[in-house]
Structures are given as structure tokens and as C-alpha cells.
């Protein structure tokens, strides 16, 4: 008895349509091979049948005419032999018989053997069994090699006389024809098989092309272009794929948009009260000195948490903009060294030494200054919150890319957490420790999004000097980089 599947279990169950049989060859190879084998089998059987039928036909024809003629000749001999009294006359009668197709004849009459002139065919060539059979009054025929070539020998008893007439018809020319036919059929089979392979290859490509389109579209969606769709209505069969695909993409887009819009709307709604709070706190701060000690402490708590809340709302808004692809970059070409110095001094509050190679001074990157400045500032901020502050910012060139590294003297990031620290609201092993933490887990996720939007990447590793601490590296592509300067590795 089958159990009905409830909606709940059905939803939970992962939709797996095809059993995952791992195949050694790809679909295209298999399709091509199938076509090739099909063509080979079809053309070979066709060739065999054609050959067999033709051969049978040709031989039957030759045989029938030989038998008919042999009987006719025997009848004629039956008329002529009684009047041929000398062996010469018998021979003459024999030679006078109609023998097309280079047939030769042998006659055994009254125990004497006669053969047609100039012929290698004589009584020796006739198999014993045939002689016996014909001598017994039974007409017979047999295919047998005579002097190295296949001959058809027809033996007919001459009616009313004690004589047997034998006629041999060469089949060599038939063999020749059949060989030619076989060769032709072989070539035709090979060509057909090759054509089958080509058609298979072409068809598999044709069949596969829409699948590749599906792959490309899926890749585009995964890459964030959620409005990617497959063309519909072009081919009714392909619509079986493209329609559900597009429905899926639409559902996905709707859902992501809904989520992002929700985050965005919530954040927007939070902005107005936050604005009031921030302004009111500032008014209170202005009267800070007049407040009693307890109220002042409360104000500090309030102030710090409003900052934190404000940052969280800003980050949420920003990340929801990333999610709906609503980020517009104002790209400018700037000197990377100046950008980093300004980011550290203005946005990062200064105080962290910036180290750069001489050969990096002319290097240009294409960035949205203000967004990228936030990346550096957020990394410094991250070091402040989790590692007691950054110890240095280093700018180095690696081929056509620039590495901006921020090092700290904290506990570092364990190897297994190095990827997830860039996830949203990920706090790594410090997750439970919020005591002194004014930050939220969106900072590194936003850094990652920003850097990627700039065509770069960000990762974390150990400090280079082997001491405890982390090293966050932002890699950006350079704009028209000059060839690396060999002498420019002195540090400033």
C-alpha cells in the first residue's frame, strides 16, 4: 500500500528527478556514439542483405539457364546420337550444341567419354557422386572447383539412351561481379557510418545547445543577474525546459527581491526614529556636564548603542542594495597610495602606520572612492574591535594587482573560520562574546561585497612575521600598470 505524500513531506523531500548514475562519458559523446553505432549496424545489415540477395539471384539465374539448356541439349543429343555411329560424329554433335557463357560439355555414351574441343573439362573433373547419380538416371547439379575456379556442373541422363550429358558453366565471372558489389557495399557502409557519426555529432551539438543556454542562464542568475530568462515559444519541445526554468527564475527573483525589499523597508522605517534618537542624544550630550553621574552613565550606554543600531541599519540597507543589485558605483581612477593614506587618516581615524613600496606610488586603481574608503575603514574598525587595533597597513604590488594588507596583533582567525568570517552575521569563535563589542556581523560581509564589486577579492591569513594576529588582504586590479620596477623594493 502506498502512503499518500503530504505537502509537508513533499516539500521537505529534495526534488531529485533522475537517479544519480555516474556516467563515464558525457551526453554528447554518448549521443554521437549511438548515432555512429546505429548507422554502422543499419548500413552493415543492409549491405549484407543486398549482397546475399543479389548473389542468390545471380547464381539462381545462371543455374536455371544452365539446367534448362542442359536438358535441351540432352534432348537434342537423344535425337542425334542414334544416327551418329562413329565417335567423330558423336563429337561433332557434342561440339555443335549451343553453349553460351563459355560452357563446356562432356558426354558419356556407351562407356565412352567425349568432351568439347579445347576444353580442360573432361570426365576427370566430374565428381564421382555426380557421375553415379546421373548414371542412375537422375539429373543433378553441383558446384565444384575445377582447375582452381568454381564451376557449376549439370548432369542430365540422355533419355532413352545409355548416355549422360554433363555441362560445366564457369562461375568465376559471377564471383568477380559479386566481389565488385561487396566492395561497393563496404564503401557505402563505411560512408554511411561516417555520415552517421557526423550527424550524431551535429545533432548532439544541436540538442545540447539549448542545454548550454540553460547552463549559461543559470550561471548568470547565480552571478546575480536575476532577471535572466530563456527565450520561450521558439520551439515547443524546448519550452518544456525553458518554461519551468523561467518560472523557477521568476520565483527566485521574486523571493530574493521580497526579502531584500523587506530588509530595505524595515531599515527605511527604522531611519526616522533613529534620526530622532541620534539628534536627541546629541542634545542630551550637550548638557552632559549638568547630569548626575548615574544619568551620565545611562547616556553613554544609550549613545553607544544608538551608534551601533545606526551602523546596523546602514549596513542592512547597504547589503539589501547589494542583494537587489541597486548599487551604483561612481568609479574614478585614483592613486592607490593616496587612497589608502586618506582612508586611514580620515575615515580610519589615523594612527596606523601605512607602509608602501616606492614602485607603488604611481599605481592607479579604478574605485568608488567613498565606498572603497569605507572598506579600509571597516577593516581598521574590525581590527579595533576584535584585535586591539591594526598594527600596520601595507601596500604592495603583485603583477597586475595591488595588495592592501591590514595586520593586527589579536588572536588571528583560525584556519577553518577564514571563509565564514566574511559571511553575514558571522562572528567566528568570538560569537558569544559581545561584552565590549559595539559592532555587528555585517562589516566583513559588506567588505567582501564591496571588494568584489570592484573586481577584487579579500581574504584573511596569518601575520607575515609569524607573530600572533591576523592579516586581512584586499586585492584590486591595477589600471594600465607600468612594467614592474626592479629596483623599487625599498620601503619608505
Amino acid at each position: 500500500m502506498t502512503k499518500p505524500i503530504t505537502t509537508r513531506t513533499r516539500r521537505r523531500r529534495r526534488a531529485r528527478i533522475i537517479a544519480p548514475v555516474r556516467r563515464r562519458f558525457g551526453l554528447r559523446t554518448r549521443l554521437t556514439v549511438t548515432f555512429t553505432l546505429g548507422a554502422a549496424v543499419l548500413s552493415a545489415s543492409l549491405a549484407f542483405i543486398t549482397f546475399g540477395l543479389t548473389r542468390q539471384n545471380l547464381i539462381d539465374q545462371r543455374q536455371n539457364s544452365a539446367v534448362t539448356r542442359a536438358f535441351a541439349n540432352a534432348d537434342r543429343l537423344a535425337v542425334e546420337l542414334p544416327s551418329a555411329t562413329t565417335p567423330t560424329a558423336v563429337s561433332r554433335s557434342l561440339n555443335a550444341l549451343s553453349r553460351p557463357n563459355a560452357a563446356n560439355a562432356v558426354l558419356s555414351s556407351d562407356g565412352r567419354w567425349y568432351a568439347t574441343n579445347g576444353s580442360a573439362f573432361d570426365q576427370q573433373s566430374i565428381p564421382e557422386s555426380l557421375t553415379v547419380m546421373v548414371a542412375g538416371g537422375q539429373a543433378a547439379r553441383m558446384r565444384t572447383p575445377v582447375n582452381g575456379s568454381t564451376q557449376l556442373i549439370v548432369g542430365v541422363p540422355v533419355p532413352d539412351l545409355d548416355a549422360q550429358y554433363f555441362e560445366s558453366v564457369p562461375l568465376a565471372d559471377l564471383q568477380h561481379t559479386l566481389n565488385g558489389l561487396a566492395m561497393t557495399l563496404l564503401i557505402a557502409s563505411v560512408l554511411t557510418t561516417a555520415a552517421g557519426a557526423l550527424i550524431g555529432y551535429w545533432a548532439s551539438r544541436r540538442v545540447f545547445a539549448p542545454l548550454l543556454d540553460v547552463g549559461t542562464a543559470a550561471g548568470a542568475i547565480a552571478g546575480g543577474r536575476l532577471d535572466t530568462r530563456l527565450p520561450e515559444g521558439v520551439d515547443p519541445d524546448l519550452d518544456l525546459i525553458s518554461r519551468p526554468f523561467n518560472e523557477m527564475a521568476q520565483a527566485l527573483e521574486d523571493r530574493i527581491e521580497r526579502d531584500a525589499r523587506f530588509a530595505s523597508e524595515v531599515s527605511h522605517e527604522l531611519r526616522s526614529p533613529l534620526m530622532t534618537l541620534a539628534a536627541s542624544i546629541e542634545v542630551l550630550e550637550n548638557t552632559r556636564d549638568d547630569l548626575p553621574e548615574r544619568a551620565r552613565t545611562a547616556l553613554e550606554l544609550l549613545s553607544a548603542d544608538i551608534d551601533r543600531l545606526q551602523q546596523l541599519v546602514e549596513d542592512l540597507l547597504e547589503i539589501s542594495r547589494f542583494d537587489v543589485g541597486a548599487i551604483t558605483l561612481h568609479l574614478e581612477e585614483v592613486l592607490v597610495v593616496e587612497l589608502v593614506y586618506q582612508s586611514v587618516s580620515i575615515l580610519g581615524g589615523g594612527g596606523v602606520p601605512v607602509i608602501h613600496d616606492v614602485d607603488t606610488e604611481d599605481l592607479i586603481v579604478r574605485v568608488d572612492k567613498r565606498r572603497f574608503g569605507r572598506v579600509i575603514a571597516n577593516l581598521l574598525d574590525n581590527a579595533d574591535r576584535h584585535a586591539g587595533g591594526a598594527t600596520s597597513v601595507t601596500i604592495e604590488r603583485t603583477d597586475n594587482r595591488i595588495h592592501i594588507s591590514i595586520e593586527d596583533h589579536g588572536n588571528g582567525v583560525p584556519e577553518d573560520e577564514r571563509d565564514i568570517v566574511f559571511d553575514r552575521f558571522s562572528r567566528g569563535s568570538e560569537g558569544g562574546n559581545r561584552s565590549n563589542d559595539t559592532g555587528v556581523g555585517l562589516g566583513l560581509a559588506l567588505i567582501d561585497e564591496h571588494v568584489r564589486l570592484h573586481g577584487g577579492r579579500v581574504w584573511v591569513e596569518d601575520r607575515r612575521d609569524g607573530d600572533h594576529g591576523a592579516r586581512f588582504i584586499v586585492e584590486l586590479p591595477l589600471v594600465d600598470p607600468p612594467p614592474p620596477d626592479e629596483n623599487g623594493d625599498a620601503e619608505l
Binding site: 526614529p273 534620526m275 539628534a279 536627541s280 546629541e282 542634545v283 542594495r321 580620515i346
Partner: protein, 226 residues
């Protein structure tokens, strides 16, 4: 009488909080909750700075800005929801001098207002009378003449022109102009400069599409030439 600031904001709580914070700076604050109210208040008694939220019921912030701009060169600060939308450029085109995104710290607002209220730097300019072809600048009096007819510039436009005129032919980067005129540093929004240059050209150039005075030097910045 002290500096008067008109704030146009439909959210009463924000308006009150901002008023309290600005009053702490020693400024006098007048409030309006709709665009119509704001225009009436401004007509009754022009203020020294106007703060306008773009999202207003009735006539929106852009229209309020344009209406005020028609009758006054008062510094205007726009409040927008987002920095990376078209709103910022539209607000600047409508005549705003600067913008802030919500939520902003009142301290930031005060800093912006102070920067806008600063007078044009006239101290470096030895001559009191500058002439660039058909263009004539009298910094001390805050007057610009084109073909002997006075051109009405906003305070910010005037300061931009005088800054460029302080070193004719020299190229000023966006960063330098942002710092000297708006008080922003390296991370200021370059669109402030670009839109103001565009507006300046509309007023001082005969053919703004083919400027002869305020020149763009691609990738570097702007300069004023004879």
C-alpha cells in the same frame, strides 16, 4: 540678530530633535512641515540657511528648492534618503548647495551649515577687481558682471568662481575645491563640484555647452581662463 535656519521636514519628532540640536549651536530655528508652509515662512521672513527634506507631502523638496532659488541665493541643504540615487544630482540641479543622507548626526549638519555660511576667501586676492574677457568679478562686493550686466550667483557658486579666479589658469582638482568650498576632504562627493560648475556655466558663459571661461581638464579638475 543671529543666524536663522528654516527646516522643512514632515516628521514632527525629527523636526523637533533637529531644532533642539541646532538651537544648541546658537542658531535660531524656524520649522515648516510642508512645502507650502516653508515657502510662506520664507516669503514672510527669509532665513540664512534652508534645510529641506526631499520627501514631503504636497509639493516636494525639489519644487520648494526651485521656488526659493528663484527669489534668493540663500544656502540650501537637501536631505535625501540615499546618496547613490538620482535624488542627489536632481537636488543639486534644483539649486541645493549641499546634501545630507538620513539619518545624519546633527553635528554633521552643523558642520555643513557652518561651511556654507563661510564667506568667500578674499584675503588671497590682491586685486579687488578681476577681469576675464567679458567677465568681471568684484570679490569684495560679491558682484559678478558679464558684459557689464550683473549676473546673479548663489553664495556657493560665487565662492567657486572666486576660488578658481584666485589662480587663473591653474587647475583645481575636485578634492581641492570640495575642501575649500564645502569643507569636505578627499572623500567628498565630486558631484557637488560637477553640478555647481554646470550651474555656474549656465550663468557666466555665453554658450554653456562650449565654455570659454570655466574649463574642464579631463581627469584633473577645473580651471578658469581668460
Amino acid at each position: 540678530m543671529g543666524t536663522r535656519i528654516l527646516t522643512v521636514e514632515d516628521d514632527e519628532r525629527i523636526r523637533t530633535a533637529v531644532r533642539l540640536a541646532l538651537e544648541d549651536e546658537g542658531w535660531e530655528v524656524e520649522e515648516a512641515d510642508t512645502g507650502e508652509d516653508a515657502l510662506q515662512a520664507f516669503t514672510r521672513q527669509p532665513s540664512d540657511v534652508v534645510l529641506i527634506d526631499i520627501m514631503l507631502p504636497g509639493i516636494d523638496g525639489f519644487d520648494v528648492c526651485r521656488s526659493i532659488r528663484r527669489v534668493s541665493d540663500v544656502p540650501i541643504v537637501m536631505v535625501t534618503a540615499r546618496a547613490d540615487t538620482h535624488d542627489v544630482v536632481a537636488g543639486l540641479e534644483a539649486g541645493a548647495d549641499d546634501y545630507l543622507t538620513k539619518p545624519f548626526a546633527p553635528k554633521e549638519l552643523s558642520a555643513r551649515i557652518r561651511a556654507l555660511l563661510r564667506r568667500a576667501r578674499t584675503i588671497d586676492l590682491a586685486p579687488t577687481h578681476l577681469r576675464f574677457g567679458d567677465l568681471e568679478i568684484i570679490p569684495d562686493e560679491g558682484i559678478v558682471l558679464r558684459d557689464n550686466a550683473e549676473v546673479h550667483l548663489t553664495k556657493t557658486e560665487f565662492r567657486l568662481l572666486v576660488e578658481l579666479a584666485s589662480a587663473p589658469g591653474r587647475v583645481f582638482s575636485r578634492e581641492v575645491l570640495l575642501e575649500r568650498i564645502w569643507g569636505y576632504g578627499y572623500f567628498g562627493d565630486g558631484r557637488l563640484v560637477d553640478v555647481h560648475v554646470r550651474r555656474l556655466r549656465m550663468k557666466v558663459e555665453v554658450d554653456p555647452a562650449n565654455p570659454r571661461h570655466v574649463m574642464t581638464i579631463r581627469g584633473l579638475g577645473y580651471k578658469l581662463q581668460q
